[in-house]
Assembly symmetry: C2
């Protein structure tokens, strides 16, 4: 019997929750091109600008950066307000993608150490997904993966969609994926770059941040994981485990179409890519993919659960993003995700597992 089985209550676990630790804030403040943090006079409030599309003179430039971003006490307070027992925190985008090669290794090491230390201050309540120095050489990345195993609160890796610069279907990533699979470290795959801004059209700025956030993020994730599937990543690294942010982008909804397009593609057939050894989208969803439940409605969540399995879906909040505009203590965005789980799974054991039990077991949190 594991320690988990002896618990009287299944803990609530938030697996999608971000931090900008103080050293990372300092790093961003020292920069003058994106990503950066600065004040735009006459205001003295600091703003975080992380996307090219928002780096223009307008009132919607970036977003305010308050203590919710960097002070772990605010995270704990947020957890207490929303009855969250455990958070698996991760560095927020854009992670370390932009660092010069020679700086990436040391900064990844210090950042991961800093977040591990932050977790240690709240025993049993905080774990984290670490960050890799992807702009450095592959040996540096592999060395950091080995070193990470010594950090007692580390439970996986947060990864963007660019990989080493050519996306996640880059064969040069396979040694890294194999090392992660061998170490049983799941990837938390998270979007950042969205889509080229031209697709939003000339009126995009009238709609605030809606198009890049509501569509750019999940569509980026969908493209990234589909490229991984098409490049046979999960056939070549069958034990690779990937937790997809935002309930997989749109992968569960499009799975049928993707499989149909693969099965009807004359080029793939000519290349003998449609044989019986292939791990299909459906196989990958059941064997390699976990989905967070950050989807804000039970309707999509039901599809996510059917696609991946009741035991493969895990609650998350996306804190500190999407705070209530009215300043309410309880966040509507969190309530929507809790209600989505209850609406999709009811009030019984399955909902408890999605709210935390699955994360405890998959990420070995207790």
């Amino acid at each position: 019997m594991s320690k988990y089985d002896s618990l009287t209550k299944t803990p609530v676990v938030d697996i999608h929750t971000h931090v900008y630790p103080p050293s990372y804030i300092s790093l961003l403040k020292s920069r003058s091109s994106i990503p950066y943090i600065r004040a735009f006079p006459p205001s003295e409030d600091l703003r975080l600008v992380i996307l090219p599309a928002e780096d223009t003179e307008s009132t919607s430039r970036g977003r305010p950066v308050g203590p919710d971003y960097y002070d772990i006490k605010n995270k704990i307070s947020f957890m207490d307000t929303h009855n969250i027992d455990i958070s698996v925190i991760s560095l927020a985008n854009p992670w370390l993608d932009w660092l010069p090669a020679e700086e990436a290794g040391p900064i990844a090491e210090s950042t991961n150490n800093e977040i591990d230390y932050i977790c240690s201050k709240y025993p049993g309540r905080l774990f984290f997904f670490a960050t890799l120095p992807l702009s450095a050489s592959a040996p540096t990345v592999l060395a950091e993966i080995t070193r990470l195993k010594t950090l007692s609160h580390m439970r996986g890796i947060i990864l963007g969609t660019t990989g080493l610069g050519s996306g996640l279907d880059d064969p040069n990533l396979l040694p890294i994926f194999k090392a992660l699979a061998a170490a049983s470290l799941p990837i938390f795959l998270h979007p950042h770059y969205g889509l080229p801004s031209g697709v939003w059209g000339p009126r995009a700025s009238e709609y605030g941040h809606v198009l890049p956030l509501a569509l750019g993020f999940p569509l980026e994730t969908t493209i990234a994981v589909t490229r991984m599937i098409l490049s046979d990543t999960f056939t070549l690294v069958p034990d690779l485990q990937v937790i997809l942010a935002h309930s997989g982008g749109t992968l569960p909804y499009l799975a049928g179409r993707i499989e149909s397009c693969i099965g009807h593609d004359s080029h793939l057939k000519a290349e003998n890519k449609l044989g019986p050894g292939r791990r299909t989208v459906w196989d990958v969803l059941k064997k390699n993919i976990y989905l967070d439940a950050v989807i804000y409605h039970e309707m999509g969540l039901k599809t996510a659960i059917e696609a991946s399995g009741e035991d493969r879906v895990m609650f998350g909040t996306d804190h500190p993003f999407f705070p209530p505009l009215g300043g309410d203590k309880e966040w509507a965005s969190v309530v929507a995700n809790v209600e989505a789980v209850k609406g999709a799974l009811g009030d019984g054991k399955a909902a408890e597992m999605a709210m935390g039990g699955n994360a405890v077991q998959v990420l070995n949190l207790i």
Copy 2:
């Protein structure tokens, strides 16, 4: 009692099925830049090249264009093979978007007349969605809408996502949308341009046509309809009816996230765009949107049905695209969509309505 109620069997209706009528084939053959049709020696087989990404010297250049594309006898034979009673045919992409302004009006008129004539040869079995001369002036478009009402087999309009060149959230489209709503002519919104090819990464050509077809198409539709929602199109034209291709792209799955992002956007709040008069994504899905059932799996289709309603989902095939690679008479892509309907709705009345009854009633086919 309508004629429909007196039927002993609900007809099976295919609302997503394309034609390239002979005059359109001739038009494409006369061109030397995309979209065009030509043979690439030494082969004498004609190929259709419609996307910039496929206009390169390679074996996968475009797609073969056989009689399934232009000979209506093949369409009827396909319908008979698959027990389809009625097809609502539409000109295949890229429609007339590329025509010079002065040619668009006359060519739209002759193309629509030609397709209406084709329908007349198979009484009761063929209807069509007409094409608008969008590269001409708005008065030309409005005149064609008025004229179309005289074509007895016309039941709506097929529309791409570019509109007059600035997308479907262009305020200059509102008079056209109002004219369509006033004439009770639904729009069949269909993708063509996909996403900028850079998003597929350097290995995209290794995956045949999968990424632009499986993801580019539905993501383009999702962006287009979300831009319509954000520009208040459905608040301004509350009777506008839009049938979304490929089960709405990904709109049903992302509806919760889109609504949450809208409700949390400080710019939209500052602009007083979040008031009670707003037609939400959920409202639009129930009041303005119909979804075809071209999604190849019951799992996504269940979400589509829950989002829009059992009475708002309609079977389709996407013929002549996605033919069986092995040359089977029965098409696997069609079987997948039939099975999706049965899997989602069972064998009873609801499935019959999705397979044809809804289309009969919405498009007034009997």
